[in-house]
């Protein structure tokens, strides 16, 4: 079914039309999402490399990673390219020359190219200078402390030389043990590795770096399979190189989460997915769910897992071929249902095909297809959705409910980097959006509807607490983004303190929910003129009058600073056509600077600005 990409050897594409490139990229993404044998995997990697050279992968989001290790990481480079494609990323990895990890930390040398998005630090215990004194708890504590300092120093080197965040890998415990005695003996290598890993996780919780939990993957595989002493001595790898695709996939899920490309909503089938049996045939008393059978318990446990996802900010939706009333019945009345009707943000139950319904769910939530994860026990439905909607993640969950949880976890589709409060509030906010859309239909008059939301806008300067979400928005917003200016966390940190800039993070609350940070504005200020360098908004709060209110605030501030000209720019991309008329709609006129490669310029004199109608209260912090 892969119409124009296959794993049979074929020449790299040379020139393709735009439409063919779209199609090619979707096909290759679908291909990359399959489970492949060793040789097929190799062909996929070569196909990806050829496509990269042919320049036809521009539909994927480019991410550049530096790899820094005291062991060989080269075997991950091609698999990373292939693994990234299945998550919509174009992962280009650069490895520091062998044995230069310490040089990177301790000298001014920089082996990496410019413009990296992150540096991955994977140092095993041999990279740290340890006392390793046996039976000495104080010495062990000093060793872990020194390792922590060293990692911080490496992080700082990455910050200084490359201005990018770091991802630190936990280390597989591969230490040979004489027996249980090594667990009791302070100073043993296995104890050190365990403490090292706790320290790395704590550092991530503290916001020092992002943690890649490699040791958990190694534990899943098993250390006997993970490590091949022969390969270690010949190639200096501390993992079996056949595992490279698995390891690359694991890292790519972290990178996807870091780049805001992880799953944000789950789309659930019902029959034989949330309960055993078919509700339409077997009826409420006939479906298998809950404490009466092993099968029923497995389904209940799966539902609890879905609730855990919800607690982590994942929006829960239903897509079922069923009569709506019958499908809702268990949610309302079955005593063993863990999920209740109000846990479900969108309930799409009808006889349309699933691809159509999944699209409808995305529209109702205001989420793109790439943020959706489809869960169905039926392999035919999974395949259909993969064919029709290659952007939707469809983990291979099988048809045995006892396997669902582990298979979803292993797929990494819901991997996440450090959660912040906004992430947790987001699920509520998407639900509220779906509900508000219903109210809108009832209220009729849009202004009345806006007023009925009792919105409150809070404007604050960039700060440390908001920084992760600000960076997330700046690095991933495509549609409502006037200039698509991208900054990483280090650059955001730097701009916060720049006195010539006004950087606003804007929050919105309404009576249904807390939306968190929904708009970012960066203005460059000079004496007579302000330039709006970046203006972006979350697409969750469209048509709320946010931009009108926010522009009122900016113009008021500009007038207060006696500025005579505010300049805004629209830089067209293939994603942001929705804001093409943004400035004209807000009363700006075409600027005297006209159009150049830097975009279309608009301007407005604050003294001539007509304040726009606003439907919310504004608070400046």
């Amino acid at each position: 079914m892969l119409s124009n990409v296959s794993l049979e050897r074929e020449p790299a594409p040379v020139t393709l039309t735009n439409e063919a490139i779209d199609h090619y990229c979707l096909s290759i993404r679908r291909l990359a999402s399959q489970q492949l044998g060793t040789q097929e995997q190799l062909r996929l990697e070569q196909l990806a490399k050829a496509a990269l050279r042919g320049g036809v992968l521009q539909k994927f989001r480019p991410i550049r990673l530096g790899l820094l290790s005291n062991r060989t990481m080269s075997y991950l480079i091609s698999p990373l390219l292939a693994a990234g494609l299945s998550r919509g990323l174009l992962l280009k990895a650069y490895e520091a020359p062998f044995d230069t990890a310490a040089l990177f930390t301790l000298s001014a040398q920089n082996p990496f190219p410019e413009d990296l998005d992150a540096v991955v630090i994977a140092l095993d215990e041999a990279a740290f200078n340890r006392e390793g004194a046996l039976l000495d708890q104080e010495s062990e504590r000093r060793d872990v402390h020194a390792a922590h300092q060293y990692l911080l120093q490496t992080r700082d080197a990455a910050r200084k030389k490359l201005n990018c965040p770091t991802i630190v890998a936990t280390q597989p415990d591969l230490a040979n043990r004489l027996g249980s005695g090594d667990a009791m003996n302070p100073g043993s290598t296995s104890r050190f590795i365990n403490r090292l890993n706790v320290m790395i996780a704590d550092g991530a919780a503290n916001g020092d770096w992002i943690c890649w939990d490699l040791s958990s993957l190694a534990a899943r595989v098993g250390s006997e399979l993970w490590f091949d002493p022969g390969q270690f001595f010949v190639a200096k790898t501390n993992f079996r190189i056949e595992l490279a695709p698995l390891i690359a996939d694991h890292l790519s899920s972290v990178v996807a989460a870091m780049s805001g490309e992880a799953g944000r909503a789950i789309v659930l089938d019902l029959d034989n997915t949330l309960w055993g049996g078919v509700i339409g045939d077997d009826g409420l008393s006939g479906i298998r769910l809950g404490q009466n059978s092993a099968e029923g318990e497995a389904y209940a446990t799966f539902q609890k897992f879905i609730l855990e996802l919800k607690r982590r900010g994942v929006v829960v939706t239903v897509c079922s071929k069923n009569n709506d009333e019958i499908a809702r019945e268990p949610f309302k009345t079955h005593p063993d249902m863990v999920l209740r009707e109000d846990d479900i943000a969108v309930f799409q139950s009808n006889w349309n095909d699933k691809a159509t319904n999944i699209k409808a769910i995305g529209d109702k939530l205001g989420l793109g297809l790439k943020s959706l994860v489809f869960i169905d026990d039926n392999p035919a439905e999974r395949e259909r959705v993969r064919q029709e909607l290659p952007l939707v993640a469809v983990p291979e969950i099988g048809d045995d409910p006892t396997q669902f949880v582990s298979r979803i976890c292993k797929s990494g589709v819901f991997d996440h980097v450090l959660l912040n409060v906004d992430d947790l509030g987001r699920a509520l906010s998407y639900e509220a959006r779906a509900k508000a859309a219903e109210i809108c239909a009832v209220v009729g008059n849009y202004e009345e509807y806006l007023a009925s939301l009792r919105m409150k806008m809070t404007i604050a300067r960039f700060d440390k607490i908001g920084r992760p979400r600000i960076t997330q928005l700046i690095s991933k917003s495509n549609q409502f983004n006037l200039t698509t200016l991208r900054l990483n966390e280090e650059q955001v940190r730097a701009i916060e303190e720049d006195p010539s800039r006004m950087c606003w993070q804007v929050r919105l609350d309404d009576r249904f929910s807390t939306h968190g940070i929904i708009a970012i504005v960066i203005v460059h200020k000079s004496q007579s003129e302000w330039r709006i360098e970046s203006w972006l908004q979350s697409c969750r709060i469209l048509e709320r009058g946010v931009e009108q209110t926010l522009m009122n605030e900016i113009m008021r501030a500009a007038a207060g600073a006696a500025v005579t000209r505010v300049v805004g720019t629209y830089i067209p991309t293939d994603r942001n056509a929705m804001v093409e008329q943004f400035y004209p709609k807000l009363g700006f006129t075409r600027g005297s600077d006209g159009v150049d490669e830097a975009g279309v310029q608009y301007e407005c004199n604050p003294s001539g600005y007509r304040t726009l109608p606003s439907f919310m209260e504004v608070l400046h912090l």
Partner: protein
């Protein structure tokens, strides 16, 4: 040594060689070695060994991996391992 089994092994080895050295278009014969294939560096060598081990269900010894002079040596080792 059996000519027929060697030819069969060479055919399977050729398939792996074509996959791993996709830019090499010359002939694959027992006297092929790293010097004749630009992509055949030390990293690719280990990868080749791993793929062959998988394909034939055998294990090379570390000393062998480092002493193979050409594909003929590799094929002989595979044949040996299969006879055992």
């Amino acid at each position: 040594m059996n000519e027929i089994s060697r030819d069969a092994i060479l055919a399977d080895v050729t398939e792996v060689i074509r996959d791993i050295f996709d830019e090499y278009e010359g002939p694959v014969t027992p006297d092929l070695n790293a010097a004749k294939v630009p992509q055949w560096d030390s990293l690719a060598h280990v990868q080749l060994m791993v793929l062959l081990e998988k394909k034939f269900g055998i294990r090379f010894k570390m000393s062998e991996i480092q002493s193979f002079k050409n594909l003929g040596d590799v094929i002989a080792s595979i044949e040996n391992a299969q006879e055992r």
